[in-house]
């Protein structure tokens, strides 16, 4: 199974501002200048590729949208602004010919998970079929709202594609060819459902948006399965840990909470996403450093206690991240 993160920003698209772009270029150019003094033959590409990707590229500004692919199935989760670019890619295939069948799973209907849909070109092509899945039973109403006049010039009825809505049952597995998908409830208002994907004995969990208020196995109850026997997890880390302790009931979490879950449940890899739109790349880097300090402290304590534990590989994801499992 292949996964691509088309949007990793939370709440509101947050493009790099011209001044931020300038500062990023300036910092990188200064460093390149320094690098040249030790290696006069270093190429600009080699230098940029030696930097952490958030320094060379930034974390990205598009909101929630991911793509999960197997040889037989292609599934999109959420229609945040990241879906626009994915739409362009799909238009090169059957969607461009009006023969596409698109499957979109919705976690919930907050704007940041929905606003990309009016710019998802396959919707405008007659003949395409757009399947929308959600545990909530009001998906059609939310989608129609997007295209209401005077908020959008093309009314819902005039969209070329055919929409088919499917209501999912909580915690009940659905088979999409060779891919199994099960929705589990997250800790987020209005409410929100994460998805567990299983394919060829590999498991991927998408846990966005969530505050992660329920962490203990007892509190999680029947939603614990979302975090168990998981190879890769994508988790909501909108805030730094300090911010999250202040923003109680805001519906978003921080990386140390995700790490606590991952360490206990032996999740192998975690990508932290839903970065705060108010956070600059530098601020996200600070949150990452604080998380690194926290993780190191936890590992040290576990080693001292001679406790059994498995290490977790984790990172703050940038837009466009792809992984295979």
């Amino acid at each position: 199974m292949k996964v691509k993160l088309w949007g990793v920003r939370g709440s509101l698209p947050a493009p790099l501002l011209p001044e931020q772009q300038y500062q990023k270029s300036l910092t990188n150019l200064k460093q390149f200048h320094e690098a040249l003094s030790t290696d006069p033959n270093i190429s600009p590409e080699k230098f940029l590729n030696s930097l952490p990707s958030y320094m060379s590229k930034g974390f990205g500004g598009h909101t929630a949208c991911i793509q999960v692919q197997t040889s037989e199935q292609n599934i999109i989760v959420d229609g945040g602004s990241g879906i626009r670019k994915l739409g362009e890619v799909l238009m090169c295939g059957p969607c461009g010919l009006g023969r596409g069948e698109v499957h979109i799973l919705m976690t919930h209907f907050h704007w940041d998970h929905l606003i990309g849909l009016p710019f998802f070109v396959p919707l405008f092509i007659p003949g395409n079929k757009i399947h929308i899945y959600s545990v909530q039973d009001n998906a059609e109403e939310s989608v129609r709202t997007l295209f209401k006049k005077p908020n959008f010039p093309v009314p819902y009825e005039a969209l070329g594609a055919e929409f088919i809505y499917h209501t999912l049952e909580p915690r009940k597995t659905v088979h999409f060819n060779d891919l199994k998908v099960t929705p589990y409830q997250l800790d987020h208002p209005d409410p929100c459902w994460g998805y567990k994907f299983e394919h060829n004995n590999k498991t991927f969990s998408y846990c966005v948006d969530t505050e992660g208020t329920r962490v203990s196995r007892k509190e999680l109850g029947e939603d614990l399965a979302l975090y168990q026997n998981v190879d890769v997890m994508v988790f909501d880390a909108q805030y730094t840990f300090l911010e999250a302790t202040e923003k109680v009931n805001w519906g978003h979490s921080s990386a140390p909470i995700g790490l606590d879950i991952a360490m206990r449940e032996e999740i192998k890899k975690v990508y932290f996403v839903h970065h705060d739109p108010a956070a600059s790349d530098e601020k996200i880097m600070i949150a990452e450093k604080q998380t690194r300090d926290y993780y190191k402290t936890r590992l040290k304590a576990l080693k001292q206690q001679e406790a059994e534990f498995s290490e977790v590989d984790w990172e703050f994801a940038i837009e466009g991240t792809e992984f295979e499992l």
Binding site: K218, E219, F241, I257, L259, D260, R298
Partner: protein, 163 residues
Amino acid sequence: MKIEHALEKENHFELALSGSIDEDAEFNAIPKIQKNLLVVDFSQVTMINSCGIRDWVNWTKTLDSNVQVHIKKCPKFIIDKINILKGFLPAKSLVLSFYTPYYCENCDSEKQYLFERGVHFQEQTADKAAFVDYDLEVLCDQCKTAMSMDVITEKYFNFLGVK
């Protein structure tokens, strides 16, 4: 986490916690604090993770605003959290005592020495600078050699307001 004791004394409420403070910690099992002073003993706490910190912070927010929190016998990892996490303790809280690690260069032993407020340290106040007894002589239990403080002092004593 275990509640070792939760006792209502004449002038204060005394609480002693032990074990790991993590997502399984049940702070709501602690009886309502009816006194104006709560003294929490952390000496038997072995670990705190981020879920535990969050639960502790949320629990302290449920205390009546007139309850002052004093904490004592804090292991180093609790002091580390106080230093990096504004909000770990409610406003007007006091640290009564905490452990400072010492190291013996002669025989590699380590020791946790209890620093007590008014004796080994004093936090900064409006009219007084913070104080830490950096010159305290701590002898190794094994070889009786003078041990050295095993912390980055500017970081570790930061919560006292040391310059």
